[in-house]
C-alpha cells in the first residue's frame, strides 16, 4: 500500500468523522464550527492536502482528484445537515402555540359619510346615469328666485305653506331647491337636464321637521317633453334607487310651478305592500317620496323660454326622509346633532 492509498483512506475516514460529528450539531454555527475542524483553513483535511508534495509526481494528479472528491462530499454533508436543521426549525416554528388572534388588529379606520350625504350621492348617481348634470345655486336666495319666478303669487297660501327664514324683505334662506331651476334656465338655453341637490331651510323644528334639511330636484326641458316621459324617467330613477321591482305611482297634487303636478309614491319598503299593521306607510302600502310635475308655462315665461315650443318636467325629493327610511332613523334631529356615536354607524 503506497502513500497515496494511505492518504486516500485517511480522507475517507475524515469524511466519515465529519458525517458522524455533524449528527450531533444542533445549530448552524455548531455545524460550521465542526466542519471547520475538518475542512476549514486549519482543518485536518486541509492539512492532508499539504501532503501532496510527499507523493510521487505521477500520483499527484490522482491524489488531487481524491482530495477534491472528499471536499465535495464534505460540502454536501454540511449542506445536508444545514438543510435538515432548517427543516427542523421550520417544523418547530409551525408547530408552536397559536397566536392570540383575538387581540385587536392594528387600527386602520376609514371614516364614515353622513347618512344624508350618502343618500344624496346615491340619488345623484342614479340621475347622472340617466344623463342629468349636477347643478347648484346659493343657499341665501332672493324672493324673486325662490318664489316669484316660480309662479308663487304674492300672498298666495302656498307661500304660507313654507314659513321661511328671512335675512331681508327680499332675501331668505331658500325654502327648496327649485330656484336652481330658474337660475339654470336663465343662464342656459334648452335642452336643460339637471339634478340639483341642496340644503334648504324652513321655520319648523320638531320630531319630524328640522329647520334645515336636504332636497334633490331634477329638471328636464326640451322640445316635445311630455308627462309620459316624466313617468318613464321617474320610474327608471326610482327603480335605480329603491330596487328594480319597486312599484311607482303618481298621484295628482298641486305645486305653484308645475302643472299637472303629482306626488311620487313608491311601494312601502318596510312592509313591501302587505300593509297590515305597517306603521311606516300607515297601512296604505305606499310611501310618498317626492313631488313632480310638468313645468308651468308661467315659469317658462319668467325665464324667457317659449312655452309653446318647449316643455319639460321637474321633480324633487326630500333626502333626509329617504335617509331616515333607509337607515331606520326615527328622529330627524339626530341627523344634525353630530353625535360621534351616531356618525360612526354609517
Amino acid at each position: 500500500m503506497g502513500l497515496i492509498d494511505e492518504i486516500g483512506e485517511r480522507l475517507d475516514a475524515l469524511v466519515r468523522d465529519l458525517e458522524s460529528s455533524l449528527q450531533g450539531a444542533r445549530s448552524d454555527d455548531d455545524v460550521r464550527a465542526r466542519a471547520a475542524r475538518i475542512v476549514g483553513k486549519k482543518g485536518e483535511l486541509t492539512a492532508l492536502e499539504k501532503r501532496i508534495r510527499e507523493v510521487p509526481p505521477e500520483d499527484r494528479r490522482e491524489l488531487g482528484r481524491r482530495i477534491n472528491e472528499a471536499k465535495a462530499r464534505a460540502d454536501r454533508i454540511v449542506e445536508a445537515r444545514l438543510a435538515a436543521l432548517r427543516a427542523e426549525a421550520r417544523r418547530r416554528e409551525l408547530e408552536g402555540p397559536a397566536l392570540d388572534v383575538t387581540l385587536p388588529g392594528r387600527p386602520r379606520r376609514i371614516g364614515s359619510l353622513h347618512p344624508v350625504r350618502q343618500c344624496e350621492e346615491e340619488l345623484l348617481d342614479a340621475l347622472q346615469a340617466l344623463g342629468f348634470e349636477v347643478a347648484d345655486g346659493p343657499e341665501i336666495e332672493t324672493t324673486a328666485f325662490n318664489f316669484w319666478k316660480l309662479g308663487f303669487a304674492p300672498d298666495h297660501p302656498a307661500t304660507c305653506m313654507q314659513d321661511s327664514f328671512y335675512l331681508r324683505d327680499d332675501v331668505l334662506l331658500r325654502t327648496h331647491t327649485s330656484p336652481i331651476q330658474v337660475r339654470e334656465m336663465l343662464s342656459h338655453p334648452p335642452p336643460v337636464r339637471i339634478a340639483a341637490p341642496g340644503t334648504v331651510y324652513r321655520r319648523d323644528d320638531d320630531v319630524t321637521h328640522s329647520p334645515m334639511f336636504h332636497q334633490i330636484e331634477g329638471l328636464l326641458v326640451d322640445e316635445d317633453v311630455t308627462f309620459a316621459d316624466m313617468k318613464g324617467i321617474l320610474t327608471l330613477f326610482v327603480r335605480r334607487v329603491f330596487g328594480p321591482d319597486t312599484p311607482v305611482r303618481l298621484r295628482p297634487s298641486y305645486f305653484p310651478f308645475t302643472e299637472p303636478s303629482g306626488e311620487i309614491d313608491i311601494g312601502c319598503l318596510i312592509c313591501s305592500g302587505r300593509k297590515v299593521g305597517c306603521r311606516v306607510c300607515k297601512g296604505t302600502g305606499w310611501l310618498e317620496v317626492g313631488g313632480c310635475g310638468m313645468v308651468h308655462p308661467v315659469v317658462f315665461e319668467n325665464v324667457g323660454y317659449d312655452p309653446e315650443r318647449f316643455s319639460g318636467f321637474a321633480f324633487g325629493m326630500g333626502v333626509d326622509r329617504i335617509a331616515m327610511l333607509r337607515f331606520g332613523i326615527g328622529d330627524i334631529r339626530l341627523l344634525y346633532e353630530n353625535d360621534v356615536r351616531f356618525l360612526r354607524q354609517f
Binding site: 347648484d136 346659493p138 343657499e139 308627462f227 316621459d229 318613464g232 353625535d339
Partner: protein, 818 residues
C-alpha cells in the same frame, strides 16, 4: 278637512264602499289621509224611555229612575241633574255593555256596565252622557234624545225603547280626513266634494235646492237694517238676511253630532247653523245679535290707523289700514272674514239675528289673518277662494234652518250689495295641447265630458273647446289648468310611460365632482362626516374671535341659531364638546359646506357671498396599538392637510407659519399656519387657541384644518408620469447634533444645496433630546438617498458627495456629526 261619508252619500246618491271612495279621491288629487270610523262599538246601549224618576232616599245627588228598555222596566241609579220627564228618551247601557268614555278627560279605558249598589239601591244598567259614549263633548248631564228639531220625541218609531242607540241616532259614519292642496278651496265644503265625487264616478251633479223659511215676519229686511260697502275691491259682495223672534237653545242631537264628528264644537242652534252651512257649502257666515248692532247699520270699510277692537276670543286687536272691518253705526263689530267681535256676539238672550254672507278678496284676508296670527275656519276658506255666486243659496239655507230650529221668522227679502257681479271665465282648450302635454292622444269628447261633469260649460269652436268654468273654481285660470283637470280626473295611470332619448347641451363646468372628491378623501383619511346647521349663535363666532361680519336672520327660531356661520369650526367644535360630554375620547370629524361671508354688491349673481369650505377637527388620543397614545397635535393636522391638498390638486402644498398671527386668532399662535398651493392661500392648519378650548369646554387640544375648496378647485396640478429610475439609489445615514433653533426645513435646504441633482430624498427618522444631549441642542437622525438618473453611483462618488453634504451641515448649521 273632515268629510262625512253619510252626508256625502245623501248629497250625491252615490253609494260605494268607503275605501273605494277614498282611493278614487286620492287618485284624483283630493288626498284622503285617513278614514275614521265613528259611532261604532256601542253594543248593548239602547234607547230607554223614562217611566219615573224619584230622589234617592239617602244621597242628595242621586236619583232613582225607572226605565223601559223595550222589554222590561229597569231600575237605574243616576247622578245627572237632567233626567227628562216621562216619556223622555235616554241612552241606556245594559249590563255587559262597554262604555268607551272617550269624551271624558283623564279617563282611560272602557267601563263595563255591571249591576252595582248605590247606598242600598241596586242599579241595573247605566244612563250615559254623550261624552261617556264618545259621541259628543257634553259631560255635564246625560244625553237626552230629541225629535230632530230639539223637542222631546213624540211617537217617533225610531226612538222606540230597546232600539240600539247607534241605529236610532244614525251614529255609524266614516269620516274622510282630506289633506287638501291650497288650490282646492272648492273642496272645503261637502257640496264641493260631492261635485268632485260625482265627476269621478261619472254621475251628473245636482246642487241642493235653496230652502224656504218656515215662517216670515211682516217687515222687510231693508226696513230694519241698512248696509254700505265702502271698499268694493276688498268686499265684492255683501249679503245679509235676518231672523227674528228666535229662541236660543242647544241644537238637536243630529246637528250637534254632525258638527262634533267633523271637528267643530256645538254651541247653540244659531251658531251651529252657521257652522253647518260652512261645512256644507264651504261658505263662511257670521251671525250678529241684531239688537246689539248700533243703527242697526252695517258699514264695510278699512280700519283707521291705530284703530282697535276686541274679537270673540276676548283679545284686543291692534288694526292697520290694510285690515277690512265690518262696522255698525258706532264702530267695528268684526274683522271681515276672519273673526267676529265680542260686542255683537250671539248670547242666550239673543232674539234677532243678522246673518252675514259675504265675499272677500282672498289676499287681503290672508294678510290680515297672518299679521294677527288668527287662523280661523272662515279665514282659511276665504284665503283659498270661496264661490262669490254661492252666497244666496248658503244664506237662504241658513235663514231657513234658523227659522226651523230657533222657531224664528225670517224677514222677507235679502240685502245683497254686489255692484260688479263676478262672471264665470271662459278659457280656450286646444285638444292638441292636451295631447302634447300628456304625451298621448286624448279624445276631445272625453275631455269635454270630464269638464262638464266638473261643472264647466263646454262649447266647440272648430277643433278647440271654449270652456266656461264655474266661479267656485277660482284656481282654474289658464289652459294648462284645464289640461290638469282632464288628466287628474282620467287618472295619471291612463297616461303611458315612455323612456325619452337623451339630448344634452354643451358641457358646463360643475363644482359637484370636486366637492364629492373632497368628502371621500377626508373619509378615506379616517374622518367621520358631520353636517351642522348653517346658522349659529353669535356667541359661537365670538368664542372663535371671528369678526362679526355674519349675516343675521330676521326671524330666527332662537338666539342659538340666529346668524349665518362664517366658519365651519363652531359647528364641529360643538360636536367635540358633545363627544366630551358623553365620554367619547377619540374625535375625528370633518364637514364640507358653505360659509356665508357677507352681502354681495348690488347686481351680483347671488345676494350673499357664499364659499364652499372643508374643515376637520381632531381631538383625543392618536391611534395606537396596545399602548396609551399621546393626544393628537399640530402634526396630525398638518399631515392630513398635505394629503388632502395633494389628492385634490396634485400639488403638494406648503405649510408656513402665519406671519400675522392676529389674522387667525382662534389658532394657537405658536403653530398657526396657512396652507399655500400654487402661490395661493388655500387654507389654514393649527391647534385651537387654549382660550377657545377653555371657553367651549373642549377638554383638551384640538387640531384643525380648514380648506377653501373654491380656491383649491382653481389649483390645477398636472398629474404627469415620471419615468421609473433605471439605476440603483444609495442611502447614507447621518446622526447630527444641532441647536434647537435649527428647523427641519434648514436641513433640507442645506443638504439640497450641497448635493444638487443627485439628492433623491431626505428622511428625518429620529429627533432626540435628553440624556447625553446638552441643553439647547437636539440630536437628529437622517437617512439621505442619492441617485443619478444616468448611471450607477460608485462608492467613491457617494463617499465624496456625502462628505460634502456633512461639511455643509457642519459649516452652515453648526451641526456636530455623532
Amino acid at each position: 278637512m273632515r268629510i262625512s261619508a253619510n252626508w256625502l252619500r245623501s248629497l250625491t246618491q252615490i253609494d260605494v264602499p268607503v275605501d273605494e271612495l277614498a282611493e278614487r279621491l286620492t287618485r284624483a288629487g283630493v288626498e284622503v289621509e285617513a278614514v275614521e270610523r265613528v259611532g261604532e262599538g256601542l253594543d248593548r246601549i239602547v234607547v230607554g224611555a223614562v217611566k219615573s224618576c224619584r230622589p234617592h232616599p239617602e244621597r242628595d245627588k242621586l236619583v232613582i229612575v225607572e226605565v223601559d228598555d223595550g222589554t222590561a222596566t229597569r231600575t237605574v241609579v243616576c247622578g245627572a241633574p237632567n233626567v227628562p220627564r216621562p216619556p223622555g228618551r235616554v241612552a241606556l247601557a245594559l249590563e255587559g255593555a262597554r262604555v268607551p268614555r272617550r269624551g271624558l278627560p283623564g279617563v282611560v279605558g272602557d267601563l263595563v256596565v255591571a249591576r252595582r249598589r248605590f247606598a242600598g239601591i241596586e242599579s241595573d244598567g247605566m244612563i250615559c252622557s254623550e261624552a261617556e259614549l264618545g259621541i259628543g263633548p257634553d259631560a255635564e248631564g246625560i244625553l237626552v234624545l230629541d225629535d230632530g228639531a230639539g223637542k222631546p220625541p213624540t211617537q217617533d218609531p225610531s226612538l222606540a225603547p230597546g232600539q240600539p242607540l247607534a241605529q236610532a241616532l244614525h251614529l255609524v259614519d266614516h269620516i274622510l280626513v282630506l289633506g287638501l292642496t291650497p288650490n282646492r278651496g272648492d273642496c272645503l265644503g261637502h257640496t264641493g266634494v260631492a261635485r268632485e265625487v260625482s265627476a269621478l264616478f261619472g254621475r251628473p251633479w245636482v246642487p241642493p235646492e235653496p230652502s224656504a223659511p218656515q215662517r216670515a215676519d211682516v217687515r222687510r229686511i231693508d226696513e230694519v237694517v241698512s248696509v254700505a260697502v265702502e271698499d268694493a275691491e276688498r268686499c265684492p259682495r255683501y249679503a245679509a238676511a235676518a231672523v227674528v223672534s228666535l229662541t236660543i237653545a242647544p241644537s238637536p242631537f243630529w246637528l250637534r253630532y254632525r258638527l262634533f264628528t267633523l271637528g267643530i264644537r256645538p254651541i247653540s242652534n244659531v251658531v251651529d247653523v252657521t257652522n253647518l252651512v260652512l261645512l256644507e257649502f264651504g261658505q263662511p257666515l257670521h251671525a250678529f245679535d241684531l239688537d246689539r248692532l248700533a243703527g242697526p247699520r252695517i258699514v264695510v270699510r278699512r280700519a283707521r290707523p291705530a284703530e282697535t277692537m276686541q274679537t270673540l276670543d276676548g283679545i284686543g286687536r291692534q288694526l292697520t289700514d290694510d285690515d277690512l272691518l265690518i262696522c255698525d253705526a258706532q264702530g267695528p263689530v268684526a274683522i271681515a272674514g276672519v273673526m267676529g267681535g265680542a260686542g255683537s256676539e250671539i248670547g242666550p238672550s239673543t232674539k234677532r239675528v243678522l246673518i252675514e254672507c259675504a265675499h272677500f278678496e282672498p289676499r287681503g284676508i290672508l294678510r290680515t289673518a297672518r299679521r294677527l296670527g288668527l287662523h280661523t275656519d272662515s279665514s282659511h276658506r276665504f284665503e283659498r277662494g270661496v264661490d262669490p255666486n254661492g252666497v244666496p243659496l248658503a244664506l237662504a239655507h241658513a235663514a231657513s234652518l234658523m227659522t226651523w230650529l230657533g222657531e224664528g221668522a225670517a224677514l222677507p227679502g235679502l240685502i245683497d250689495v254686489y255692484p260688479r257681479p263676478i262672471a264665470p271665465r271662459t278659457l280656450r282648450l286646444r285638444p292638441g295641447r292636451l295631447s302634447k302635454v300628456l304625451g298621448s292622444p286624448v279624445d276631445s269628447t272625453q275631455a269635454a265630458s270630464i269638464l262638464e261633469r266638473l261643472g264647466c260649460t263646454v262649447a266647440s269652436r272648430g277643433d278647440d273647446l271654449d270652456v266656461t268654468v264655474p266661479t267656485s273654481r277660482s284656481d282654474i285660470s289658464r289652459e294648462i289648468d284645464l289640461v290638469e283637470e282632464v288628466a287628474r280626473v282620467r287618472g295619471y295611470e291612463a297616461i303611458p310611460t315612455r323612456y325619452p332619448s337623451i339630448r344634452t347641451g354643451p358641457p358646463t363646468p360643475r363644482a359637484y365632482p370636486f366637492r364629492q372628491r373632497a368628502r371621500h378623501t377626508l373619509a378615506a383619511l379616517g374622518l367621520d362626516e358631520a353636517v351642522s346647521y348653517s346658522f349659529v349663535s353669535p356667541r359661537d363666532l365670538e368664542a372663535f374671535r371671528l369678526p362679526p361680519v355674519a349675516l343675521p336672520l330676521s326671524n330666527p327660531l332662537s338666539e342659538e341659531r340666529s346668524v349665518m356661520r362664517t366658519s365651519l369650526l363652531p359647528g364641529l367644535c360643538r360636536a367635540v364638546a358633545r363627544a366630551r360630554r358623553v365620554r367619547e375620547e377619540r374625535v375625528r370629524l370633518f364637514e364640507v359646506g358653505r360659509v356665508f361671508l357677507g352681502w354681495e354688491k348690488p347686481g351680483a349673481a347671488t345676494p350673499a357671498r357664499e364659499k364652499l369650505w372643508a374643515a376637520l377637527v381632531m381631538a383625543g388620543p392618536r391611534d395606537a396599538y396596545l399602548e396609551r397614545a399621546a393626544e393628537v397635535d399640530f402634526f396630525d393636522a398638518k399631515g392630513l392637510a398635505i394629503e388632502l391638498c395633494r389628492d385634490l390638486t396634485g400639488v403638494a402644498p406648503s405649510i408656513r407659519l402665519c406671519s400675522e398671527v392676529d389674522r387667525l386668532p382662534w389658532l394657537h399662535p405658536r403653530s398657526a399656519c396657512v396652507i399655500e398651493a400654487a402661490q395661493k392661500v388655500v387654507g389654514r392648519v393649527g391647534e385651537l387657541h387654549p382660550d377657545v378650548i377653555e371657553s367651549l369646554d373642549l377638554g383638551g387640544p384640538v387640531a384643525v384644518v380648514e380648506a377653501d375648496l373654491d380656491a383649491l378647485r382653481t389649483v390645477r396640478g398636472e398629474r404627469r408620469f415620471a419615468p421609473l429610475p433605471r439605476f440603483p439609489a444609495v442611502s447614507r445615514d447621518v446622526a447630527l447634533l444641532v441647536d434647537e433653533s435649527v428647523r427641519a426645513a434648514d436641513i433640507t435646504r442645506v443638504v439640497g444645496a450641497s448635493s444638487g441633482e443627485l439628492l433623491e430624498s431626505i428622511e428625518l427618522f429620529d429627533v432626540y433630546r435628553g440624556e447625553q444631549i446638552p441643553p439647547g441642542k437636539k440630536s437628529l437622525a437622517l437617512s439621505i438617498r442619492y441617485r443619478a438618473a444616468d448611471r450607477t453611483l460608485t462608492d467613491a462618488e457617494v463617499d465624496s458627495l456625502h462628505a460634502t453634504v456633512l461639511g455643509g451641515l457642519v459649516d452652515d448649521l453648526g451641526g456636530q456629526p455623532r
